[in-house]
């Protein structure tokens, strides 16, 4: 700590180089933590799917918006062996205030829906929701994103969909926590899409019954006007999020490239900084500083620059994740503390690895050789 003022002044002296190094490390921490958080979002989404739950989509259209199946299928499905319950969900993708703020609205028969999905209404009440035709329950995450409160009337852009917030809910299924639940008949009227659902949710007696029930449902509905594709909820979500999964793969490649570039960039920057200061190292050693002191100063400087960069990267990632409502609440985006710590750890590692070899070389240089160098 006794060398901290010297370290801080050195960072300030090479302002441009320090800023570039901070920027490089910040960018890499930003990408790493943002990606890790998206990964965490995916994981929580998949882990929150029901193990004994099936989704029935229109055949060939496993899309959460464009698929359509008839509600009349429900009576056929409930007669399939091992099926415990079933309900339809009509989905729409809307915008709030601007086209960038997407909101997923699910029209449900609430009594049936809460039999297949665990819903806990915190603020407000489900009674108020039931009493109002235009009532809505808002997912905890979405309410937090937009600051919606119980009693508030909200208008979305498309179809002039307006609802009154009757309650804020949480659910084991994180998909719904990022959206809005309204009465299905209300949404059907607005969308002029009565008697149909985007998909049907079916619960079966257990995970072992999923495969057989899926086959039976699809074959039972094969000759209906809209044949179906039935699969486990987890598989359906994976398909639904396939496009995002591809983005994730691309980001993974970018992540690896970013880390490599950051390490080389930081190492190069530190190496240049050390080379510029070889004479300074000689002066300090002539004053009595030991090799270990020189290492402390050079590595301390690099570590501090890396931590500043890491902090900025983390702040940027947290800001992005907080403001990223454009995914329509499909993926829960938060920066878990463990990932924040990991991000700072990565930044520190970049700084330390980048500084280690050049600092060691500088500290080992003979004092007279260091002093011989002209500025």
């Amino acid at each position: 700590m006794r060398f901290l003022p010297l370290i801080l002044k050195s960072i300030r002296r090479n302002r441009r180089r320090s800023l570039l190094t901070i920027g490089g490390i910040g960018l890499s921490v930003f990408v790493i933590t943002a990606l890790l958080s998206v990964e965490a979002g995916f994981a929580s989404l998949f882990n929150s799917t029901g193990e004994s739950t099936l989704n029935v989509y229109e055949k060939g259209l496993a899309c959460p918006i464009t698929s359509r199946v008839f509600d009349s299928y429900l009576s056929t499905i409930t007669s399939v062996p091992n099926v415990v319950g079933a309900t339809g969900v009509l989905r729409g993708l809307y915008s709030y205030q601007t086209k960038d703020h997407l909101v997923t609205v699910s029209g449900v028969d609430f009594e049936q829906f809460r039999r297949v999905k665990h819903i806990v209404v915190g603020e407000g009440s489900d009674t108020d929701f039931a009493a109002r035709g235009d009532g809505a329950l808002i997912g905890r995450r979405l309410a937090s994103d937009y600051g919606w409160r119980v009693g508030q009337t909200v208008s979305l852009i498309e179809d002039r969909l307006t609802f009154q917030v009757a309650g804020i809910f949480s659910s084991d299924d994180k998909t719904y926590e990022g959206g809005v639940l309204v009465h299905k008949d209300y949404l059907s009227r607005i969308k002029r899409d009565e008697g149909r659902s985007t998909y049907l949710i079916v619960t079966v007696t257990g995970p072992s019954a999923i495969a057989a029930a899926s086959r039976t449902i699809d074959s039972a509905l094969a000759n209906f006007p809209k044949p179906t594709t039935t699969q486990s909820e987890k598989a359906a979500k994976e398909l639904e999020l396939m496009a995002l999964g591809e983005i994730r793969q691309m980001l993974s490649l970018m992540l690896i490239a970013t880390i490599i570039v950051s390490i080389f960039g930081a190492a190069n920057s530190v190496s240049m900084s050390v080379r510029d200061r070889t004479r300074e190292v000689g002066i300090l050693r002539s004053l009595g500083l030991r090799k270990s002191h020189i290492m402390q100063i050079l590595i301390g400087e690099s570590a501090l620059v890396a931590l500043i960069g890491g902090g900025i990267g983390l702040a940027a990632a947290a800001a992005l994740l907080t403001s990223a409502k454009s995914l329509g609440g499909m993926i829960p985006l938060v920066l878990p503390p463990a990932y924040a710590i990991a991000g700072m750890g990565i930044a520190l590692a970049i700084g330390l690895l980048g500084a280690a070899v050049p600092s060691l070389n500088a500290s080992r240089l003979k004092i007279v050789d260091s002093l011989r160098l002209v500025d």
Binding site: F3, L6, K9, R13, R285, S286, G288, L289, R290, V368
Partner: protein, 234 residues
């Protein structure tokens, strides 16, 4: 005066390819406490190398350097570093101040290695700057000072740990006549008023004339050791 420094049979050679280049050849001389010695000689005669060996920032190929009877050539790197902090103050031709630090921060640098509070460090650094007449410039950066002021700051840094020996390598080499005279006055004051032992390399006979004694080197060998017991020649 007591014996402070003893240079005994010191030789130094470098390997240049397959050839050994001898820089110092069997140098012997003594320096008493309170002495002021000028090392003179043509370029390449080995003056700076000898000074560096005495200051513990270079090592002899053979021979030894004793400071108050202790052989510094035998000290390990960390011990030698600690020895330098307490026993030697350097004044370089290029001043060698850190540009990112103010004058007082530069002077404080060696004190960071001693067990001392921040206030004590600052107090001692300001006292050293006062001795060299630069207390009003304490918070100026090297770039804001003249060459003479920079060199006086480096003298303050050299004496702040109260070392037994001050080593000055051509301290006036980069200064104009007035600034050089100022720095030489300062070194003389340190020697006469504060009893600091000074070893100075110089090309300037005028500067050497300020010393009590002149040692001449030529081609790595000591060729003359002329004492001037009354100090400054008349």
């Amino acid at each position: 005066m007591d014996g402070l420094l003893s240079v005994q049979q010191v030789s130094k050679s470098y390997s240049r390819g397959e050839q050994d280049v001898s820089v110092l050849k069997d140098i012997n001389f003594e320096v008493q406490a309170g002495d002021y010695v000028a090392l003179m000689g043509p370029s390449g005669s080995g003056k700076t190398t000898l000074l560096n060996i005495i200051g513990g920032i270079d090592s002899p190929t053979s021979g030894r350097v004793l400071m108050e009877g202790a052989d510094i050539s035998q000290l390990a790197d960390a011990e030698l570093a600690a020895w330098r902090t307490s026993n030697v103050g350097f004044v370089f031709q290029q001043y060698n101040l850190l540009p990112v630090l103010t004058a007082v921060e530069n002077v404080e640098l060696p004190l960071l290695l001693l067990d001392m509070t921040k206030d004590e460090r600052r107090r001692r650094a300001l006292t050293a700057l006062e001795i060299v007449g630069l207390k009003p410039r304490a918070h100026h950066y090297p770039r804001q000072m003249s060459g003479g002021e920079e060199q006086r700051t480096s003298v303050a840094r050299a004496l702040v740990t109260d070392p037994k020996l001050i080593i000055a390598d051509e301290p006036t080499g980069n200064l104009d006549a007035a600034a050089a005279s100022n720095v030489l006055d300062l070194l003389q004051t340190l020697n006469e008023k504060f009893q600091k032992t000074i070893l100075m390399v110089t090309h300037d006979p005028g500067a050497a004339g300020r010393a009590k004694r002149t040692v001449r080197l030529n081609k790595g060998a000591l060729v003359q050791d002329a004492g001037q017991p009354h100090g400054r020649p008349q």
